[in-house]
Amino acid sequence: MNQMTEIKPLTRKDFESDQDVRWCPGCGDYALLAQVQKLLPALGIPRENFAFISGIGCSSRFPYYMETYGMHSIHGRAPAIASGLKLARPELSVWVVSGDGDSLAIGGNHFIHAMRRNIGLKIILLNNRIYGLTKGQYSPTSEFGKKTKTTPLGSIDRPFSPVSVALGAGATFVARTVDSDHPHLLDTLKRAAEHPGTAFVEVLQNCIVFNDGAYNALADRETRDDARLLLQHGQPMRFGKDSNRGIRMRGFEPEVVTVGEGGVTEADLAIHDESAANGGLAFFLSQFAAPLPVPLGVFRAVEAPVYEQLSTGLAEDARAQRGQGTLEKLFNSGDTWTID
């Protein structure tokens, strides 16, 4: 952060650029944009120290709408570009906004390596389980059997769980939220912003044109309490309209139980521990599939050395040992000889 700059109180308005937002009406991207613009003024970071980097896709238009520094780059490469920026300028708050195709298909390699390195990027993946910008082909998160323009007979690809991929690659902060629940979205983004290493947030998001209703169960106030499991650190895994349903572990198999039925008490429920040194619980949750509820919230938040700090540290150590490098010394190192 730039110490010289006096931080004036910023508002959501300060983060709105003069560009017209051109997403389809009803797109989940709007919710993210609004919540990010709401969050950033609260972070105490000067506006000029934010940079938003995106790849290609509907969601990747995001930087244009933010009155910060930003780059709309090329397909899937945002994490690599953002990594270079963060390494060169560790004091900047660098955010990546991406989609399921961008992050997990063409950019899969960069995605996993950002997680592995634990570089201080905030990576948001808007997952609508479809290719929107190219108009309706299946994506790496589309469900098996999904019929789309390129899979008229149904997809035979097995879908990725973005949270599983992130955890498998060693991410230190992994969360999931949904575009329709604005307070939860905001809270999750705030947690991500506070995390020092790579913070990964999957936003389950509706595509009104090509995959409308994909997350209806999570969006509908009538059904969502039964469809989702809100993860809370240190708390038993309870969900449901009456909050009386819960997750019990049967060895390595989760099952849905009802507290108060068949002798089940709250003590039988699994407890969420986002900071567990072993990532097994988080991964277990990331694999939940129907009829289990969709876990939302922070799957994992652990501390680990942060890449750009390690990189800066190497340079500091090198200077401490060898002194600041000079060309004079560098040129004349090794075997030299003089011709008179």
Binding site: E48, N49, I53, S83, R89, L327, T338
Partner: protein, 625 residues
């Protein structure tokens, strides 16, 4: 032996012993060390080159090794070689044909014998010419005693056994003893070429400081080889090459890749802007990444990315952040970086992409030289996507080109492609160490004044302003979609797109005004002009000089800037009847010249993974004038 020799009979004192032996003085010599890829031939050659460097010779080297790390021993495809030419005059190439071949086994002899000068010297490690090795090399009988080498001066020395003998009491393992034979060979050669042994002993002790017993064994092997050459009656004379008449100064031996790394470090210091290298290891470019990784006490960050694409993308991100962005690669890696290059052109950010070319296409010949990425560098992107291209001509020239690449990149806010190749990336020559104070200034201006700021407004060079994120009041967005001429906002307006295409082209074309004047060696007009680029420089220079000495009228111009081409090149071409373009490809510069100047040129093409021999170009000159 090369050129005139003369014999001087003078006593010579070595190691306390006095012995009279004629010393033949020679102008230059080409020695090639060849053996198994595990025999340490690169090390032997390197150490020998250091020794001749200290003696004040000019020299050039050519390491030639297989793409397998350790091919099965004794096989024809596992042969590794190191050639050095050193001279009392100027040296521009590692030499067409070796005068001396040090062959550590039959496979090495078999694969390299065709190159040896008629009547040249062979020093063969007789101990390795056993039945199994002869068979692996495809010899029906032993060439050391069946008369096939009658045209050469053959010295058979059982280097393996003599090394064993010398080291049998040291107590080190048999395997380790076997690995010392390269130092035995080095000792032999140091004596034969009148080089002192003491410096090399120091080198060995420094190199194996952590393994004193191995150091000692190697020193013993070295001395044994040296003493053998001194005491045996086999060698009737030894040789001395006079020190070259070289510009006074302090020198060091440098490879092209090492020189490039130093040049990039220098660019960062001169610009007072940190350097960021994002790269992925690939032969033969990897050395640059390795060299810069060891310079973290400078303002240098290196990032070994997950792939080539991430290499260039991280450098683009760093450039956006306001540091000198650099990525390094070779042929196939360059192909992967292509999409990001287009982005860098749209972003109008400074960036340097170094391509140490190798044989292609695809994986091609990873360890061999080729100049076949020129058209890719100039044209190989989607859309109208102009990028300045420069090429270095020799190992030491890689230093200057690295600085020049960044000078153009920051002045014009553009990616710049720097072409080198495996022929100069790994080869070494003496480098006159510059005084940092004498290096050209490299001015970088970051815009900090928000007043009237438009992200894509341009200066007199058509370059837009470089703004570091973190600068208040100038928040702006860049990206790969077409930009509005001034604001940089997305614009799909057809007229705006054409205007942007034209202005980007004009910006790059305008660099022609900023290129140092071309030097034409030889007559300024006449029958024949040779136009070269890149690492063919040395062969062309020597061939032209030889032709001139033979009374031929032939000129040479060597291009560093390939896009845009220097403004005066068209006029120069017009002053000669014939233009000869030697290239290690099928005619890529030739195409560019024909297209740009609408004049025919005579192509001289070679695509064998090898440099031009001086004689090849010389012969072609004779055919043409």
């Amino acid at each position: 032996m090369n050129t005139q020799t003369m014999t001087v009979d003078e006593p010579r004192v070595v190691g306390g012993m006095q012995k009279t032996r004629p010393i033949e003085e020679i102008k230059s010599v080409v020695i090639r060390f060849v053996g198994d890829s595990g025999d340490g031939m690169q090390l032997t050659g390197n150490e020998f080159s250091k020794s001749v460097a200290r003696a004040g010779h000019d020299f050039a080297t050519h390491p030639d090794y297989p793409s397998e790390i350790r091919a099965p021993t004794g096989t024809l495809f596992g042969v590794s070689g190191y050639q050095i030419q050193f001279s009392s005059g100027q040296v521009f190439t590692s030499g067409d044909a070796p005068d001396v071949l040090v062959a550590m086994n039959p496979a090495a002899l078999k694969t390299n014998l065709p190159d040896l000068r008629h009547g040249g010297m062979i020093i063969a490690n007789a101990g390795a010419f056993n039945k199994a090795n002869l068979q692996k090399a495809g010899y029906q009988s032993n060439p050391l005693d069946d008369g096939t080498l009658i045209d050469f001066r053959l010295y058979t020395i059982d280097i393996s056994d003599l090394t064993n003998q010398a080291l049998k009491d040291t107590g080190i393992a048999k395997k380790e003893i076997g690995r010392c034979k390269n130092y035995y060979a080095l000792g032999l050669m140091l004596y034969l070429y009148s080089r002192p042994i003491e410096d090399e002993e120091q080198n060995i002790r420094a190199k194996f400081a952590k393994k004193p017993d191995i150091a000692e064994a190697n020193v013993i092997a070295l001395r044994a080889g040296y003493a053998y050459a001194e005491s045996t009656e086999m060698f009737v004379s030894t040789y001395q090459v006079r020190a070259a008449d070289i510009k006074p100064g302090r020198y060091r031996s440098i490879t092209g890749n090492h020189a490039a790394a130093l040049g990039f470090a220098a660019a960062s210091e001169l610009a007072k802007v940190p350097l960021f290298l994002g790269s992925y290891p690939i032969t033969p470019a990897t050395d640059i990444l390795q060299e810069l990784s060891a310079l973290k006490h400078f303002n240098i960050t290196t990032f070994q990315a997950e792939d080539e694409i991430a290499g260039i993308c991280s450098a683009i991100g760093a450039a956006y952040g306001g540091v000198l962005g650099l990525t390094t690669t070779s042929g196939p890696g360059m192909a992967l970086k292509t999409e990001a290059l287009g982005l860098a052109v749209m972003l109008e950010l400074p960036l340097v992409i170094t391509n140490v070319q190798r044989g292609g296409p695809s994986t091609g010949l990873p360890t061999k030289v080729e100049q076949s990425d020129l058209l890719q560098a100039v044209y190989g992107r989607n859309g109208e996507c102009p990028i300045p291209v420069i090429a270095s001509r020799s190992p030491a020239d890689c230093f200057d080109c690295a600085i020049e690449a960044f000078r153009i990149a920051v002045k014009y806010m553009t990616p710049v492609i720097l072409l080198s190749d495996g022929g100069i990336g790994n080869a070494a020559e003496p480098w006159r160490i510059p005084n940092p104070a004498d290096l050209p200034p490299l001015e970088v201006k970051f815009r900090t004044d928000a007043d009237g700021f438009q992200p894509y407004a341009r200066d007199e060079h058509l370059a837009r302003a470089w703004v570091r994120p973190g600068t208040p009041g100038m928040e702006h967005r860049v990206g790969g979609l077409e930009k509005h001429f001034l604001t940089g906002n997305i614009s799909h307006d057809p007229i705006n797109h054409e205007r942007m295409v034209n202005v980007r082209a004009a910006k790059v074309a305008g660099i022609a005004k900023d290129i140092p004047p071309l030097t034409v060696e030889g007559p300024q007009s006449g029958d024949l002009l040779i136009v070269g680029w890149g690492s063919t420089y040395g062969s062309i220079v020597q061939a032209r000089e030889q032709a001139e000495a033979a009374g031929k009228s032939v000129a040479h111009v060597h291009l560093r800037h390939l896009n845009p081409l220097p403004a005066e090149l068209g006029d120069i071409l017009a002053r000669y009847k014939t233009v000869l373009v030697p290239e290690l490809n099928l005619g890529q510069l030739s195409k560019l010249l024909r297209e740009r100047y609408l004049r025919d040129v005579t192509l001289m093409s070679k695509v064998q993974g090898k440099m031009f021999k001086v004689s090849e170009i010389y012969d072609r000159i004779l055919e043409l004038c």
